[in-house]
Every structure is written in structure tokens, then in C-alpha cells.
């Protein structure tokens, strides 16, 4: 007794389809795990600690991110801003990350910070209206003053996905808050 060639081929194809589906599923799962379901904590070029600056030393957010209240982007401070303070702080001058900062300063380079809270290109989030409306920085960014390395927390802001935006806009009854053209253009 023997199995026909076609029957054998059929079972092979069935097996292949299952394998391909499994691979696709694994890919989607891996992507979702990294992009949606988990916190995101990238390693920065300099181990800048918000815990020390905003927490212990109580520097207000808008001292460094000074554009938040008056433009769409909050902005990352220039190296000049960092050095402006650190020139006077001789007691921490020898810490390795401060040495790194002064290396950037001497080379005349910007620091290539990694963006943590990012929205896609078709979303135009504007900081100014939110600050005007009295939204705390921590509402979206989490308790940054307690973070040694900034994390985008999934339990807090669903990794900045749209349902989370819409919930708040509906709750606070924002003017035109649910119109697509408010953010997407």
C-alpha cells in the first residue's frame, strides 16, 4: 500500500500554510509587544536624569522645554542651555556623563537625543493649546520627575494612541475636539 503523490503534496502544502501563518503571527506579536503593549525606554546618548534635575533640584519643565507654552513643539534644550548651568557646577564636573556633555560642547555638536514620546507624521499634536487649557505635563508624559531614564508608559497613556486622545477630548468637551482636521492635516 502506498500514498498517492497528490495526497502527500496536499499535506505538505497544509503544513507549509500553517508554518507561514505561524511566522506572520510571530512577527505581528513581536511588533505589538514592542510598539503597543509595552513601555518604551530607549537608551539616550547621555544618561540625563530627570529625577535629579526636575525631581531633586525642582527645575520647572518650561525652564528647559521653553517652547511648550508658545508653539507646537515643546523643544529640546540646546547644549548651550545645559552648559550654561554646568559651567558653574564644578562639583559634578567629573561625572562621566557631564564629561560627555562638555565633549559635545567642545566639538560644537548637538546631542542626538532619542525621541520617546513620538506621534506619527499624520498627527499634528500641538503643545500650546494643551498648556493653555491647563493640562499638566505629567498627564501625558507621566511622572517624569521620578524617572532616571524617561519611559513612555503604556498603563498611563496607551502609548499615545488615538482612543486615549479622544477620551480626554470628549470628557473635557474641547471645542472641535473630535473634528479630524483638528489633528490630522
Amino acid at each position: 500500500m502506498s500514498i498517492g503523490v497528490f495526497e502527500a503534496a496536499r499535506s505538505v502544502i497544509k503544513g507549509l500554510i500553517i508554518a507561514v501563518l505561524a511566522i506572520i503571527g510571530a512577527y505581528i506579536g513581536h511588533w505589538a509587544h514592542g510598539a503597543i503593549l509595552n513601555d518604551y525606554t530607549p537608551v539616550q546618548p547621555i544618561e540625563f536624569s530627570h529625577e535629579v534635575h526636575a525631581g531633586e533640584n525642582e527645575i520647572p519643565c518650561e525652564y528647559c522645554h521653553s517652547w511648550a507654552g508658545r508653539s507646537a513643539t515643546a523643544g529640546v534644550p540646546s547644549v548651550e542651555t545645559c552648559v550654561g548651568c554646568h559651567k558653574g557646577l564644578t562639583e559634578v564636573r567629573d561625572k562621566p556623563d557631564v564629561v560627555k556633555l562638555f565633549d559635545y560642547w567642545e566639538r560644537g555638536e548637538g546631542i542626538p537625543w532619542v525621541k520617546v514620546h513620538d506621534t506619527p507624521d499624520f498627527v499634528h499634536f500641538r503643545h500650546k493649546p494643551h498648556i493653555r487649557g491647563g493640562v499638566e505635563c505629567q498627564t501625558c508624559h507621566g511622572p517624569v520627575e521620578e524617572m532616571a531614564r524617561v519611559t513612555r508608559r503604556v498603563d498611563l497613556n496607551e502609548n499615545l494612541r488615538m482612543p486615549w486622545c479622544i477620551d480626554c477630548h470628549t470628557e473635557e468637551d474641547v471645542a472641535n475636539g473630535r473634528d479630524c482636521l483638528t489633528c490630522h492635516y
Binding site: D121, N176, H184, Y185
Partner: protein, 305 residues
């Protein structure tokens, strides 16, 4: 109880909003338009429009949210050129909005015909329904060569392959103007929100503003007896209003009926038709001189340009 089907029907109804918070309107004075295409260039730069290249252009895949259409009056050598800037008319009762299966295009509270790129699935039905031919499809993901990507406008999405796009009345500028007005707790003043084309127009042929404000420049333009909308008979109620060219009629008389009676609504409608539709049809015999073919005549017309 309203079912989903009822809701769909409600949203699908053309003219879903009965009144608008702002009613953004554009008036284009064809008498002032010189066809210089400064508006076209401004639009291209402001809205991150790709240059598709010669090959795709020939395939009809150009990207121009605003284009200058030209129409000939009269017959060579007694011919005259007319220009009509053609852009999305932001119709209050837009055919495209009824067509979209995923509500990627809809009317918002400011009288703008919105196109939501992240919602669009690229069925291209809206482009088929649009009588003005002003919707463009991204057949490819276009890229910009090395230094050119530096001039992309960060306030406007760079569209990807598979989405439909069209003129937005420079909504990024409108949003910005509204944001500044909100700081001072007032309405947007006339002239504060200007699309790139209106800003670039050297003869001020394009005027943009809020129709709800009776004092605005565009409201005054609308009272002009020359005002008409393109393809009025389709009842799309466009937000772009054209002011008819009121030049002397040509001696040849080909467009006498066009310029004859200002109050005749039919005549005002026909201002927007191609020349061959209103004066004479080059494809039908009478207008042709002996021994000429229609294509030859077109060539002659092109030579004048």
C-alpha cells in the same frame, strides 16, 4: 432609537451641517488672473506636493492641488486666452463625501471638505465622483532628492502611497490663525488666515476669508454681479466663487453670447465651460475652414500660447 444604519444615513446626507462656525470661502477674480501660476508654485511648496516627473505626468498621475486651466475665446488669429484656477471647491454638498466608504472625506464645522489621510483606504471613488477633477491619488510613495527634503513643510503630512489627497484650503494656516485668535479670546480677523495661493497671488485675484462675516473682503466680492460658481447646475454649492471675466467681446463674435447678457444665469454658467462647448465645437464641421482638420486647429491655437 437610532440604529447604525440611521446614523450612517444621517452622516451621508449632503450638507450635514446647516450652519458653520466659520464659512471659509475663496473668491477668484478671473479679470485679475494673469495665469502666472505663482499660486500653483506656492501650493506645491506649502503642501509638500511631489514632482511626479515627466513619465507619470504623461500617464495622468500628476499632483497639483491647484492648476490653471486655460480656455480659448474666438478663433485664430482673433483669439483670446482665458485662465481659470481650478482647485477643490469645498462644496457644501459634496459628491465625494457621499461616495467615501470609510468617511475619510467629510464636511467639518468650518465648511471645509476634509480629507483624512490616515483613514483613507484608497478606493479612489471620491475622485470618480468629483466633477471638478481636483482629487489626486498617490500611486507611489514619492521621495525628495537630497537638499529638497529640507524644505518640506513640517505642518503638513507627507502623504504615502495609496491615499487620496486634495486642496485643504491650507488648513494648517487656518488652525494656526484660530489658535492665535483663541489666545486673545476673539474670532479670527479677516485676512489673518490666508492660504498659500492667495498669499502668493501678485494681482490679488484670489481672496480668502470667512463668508459668515459680512464685512470680510470675500463677502464683498460675493456681492459682485459677476460672481458665479463652476458647474452650478450640479447643486454642489461650492465654497470657491469665481468672478467672471468682463472684458470687451471679441470682434469675431465667437463669445458674444457669453459676454452679452450679464444677468443671464445660463451665460454666467457657461463662463466655466471649455471654449468648444460654448462658442463652437471644433469637432463639428461649421467652425472649420476648408481643408483644415480639428487637430491642425488645435496646433494653431497652441502656437499662439
Amino acid at each position: 432609537m437610532s440604529t447604525i444604519r440611521d446614523k450612517l444615513r444621517e452622516y451621508r446626507t449632503a450638507g450635514y451641517y446647516t450652519e458653520f462656525e466659520y464659512h471659509w470661502t475663496m473668491a477668484v477674480d478671473l479679470d485679475r488672473c494673469t495665469g502666472c501660476e505663482a499660486c500653483v508654485v506656492a501650493c506645491q511648496a506649502e503642501n509638500n506636493l511631489p514632482i511626479v516627473g515627466e513619465k507619470l505626468m504623461r500617464q495622468g498621475r500628476e499632483m497639483k492641488w491647484l492648476r490653471i486651466e486655460r480656455y480659448w475665446d474666438g478663433e485664430y488669429p482673433n483669439a483670446r486666452l482665458n485662465f481659470i484656477p481650478m482647485l477643490c471647491q469645498h462644496c457644501d454638498e459634496a459628491p465625494c463625501e457621499i461616495a467615501c466608504p470609510v468617511f475619510a472625506t467629510y464636511h467639518n464645522q468650518d465648511g471645509l471638505n476634509a480629507q483624512v489621510y490616515n483613514r483613507c483606504i484608497g478606493t479612489r471613488t471620491c475622485a470618480v465622483y468629483c466633477p471638478y477633477e481636483v482629487r489626486f491619488f498617490n500611486w507611489f510613495t514619492y521621495t525628495w532628492d537630497e537638499p529638497l527634503e529640507q524644505q518640506l513643510n513640517p505642518d503638513v503630512t507627507v502623504r504615502e502611497k495609496g491615499v487620496m489627497e486634495k486642496c485643504t484650503f491650507c488648513v494648517q494656516r487656518i488652525n494656526r490663525a484660530k489658535d492665535l485668535a483663541r489666545d486673545e479670546d476673539r474670532r479670527v480677523a479677516d485676512g489673518e488666515a490666508q492660504p498659500a495661493c492667495a498669499q502668493a497671488c501678485p494681482t490679488d485675484a484670489i481672496v480668502f476669508g470667512d463668508r459668515n462675516d459680512p464685512e470680510s473682503a470675500v463677502s464683498r466680492k460675493l456681492e459682485d454681479p459677476r460672481a458665479y460658481s463652476v458647474l452650478e447646475e450640479l447643486n454642489t454649492h461650492p465654497s470657491v466663487v469665481y468672478l467672471k471675466n468682463a472684458r470687451k467681446p471679441l470682434a469675431g463674435g465667437a463669445d458674444d453670447d457669453h459676454h452679452g447678457d450679464e444677468s443671464d444665469s445660463r451665460a454666467s454658467r457657461e463662463g466655466a465651460r471649455p471654449t468648444w462647448e460654448r462658442g463652437h465645437d471644433p469637432r463639428s464641421g461649421p467652425a472649420l475652414r476648408e481643408g483644415e482638420t480639428p487637430s491642425l486647429q488645435t496646433q494653431q491655437a497652441d502656437t499662439v500660447a
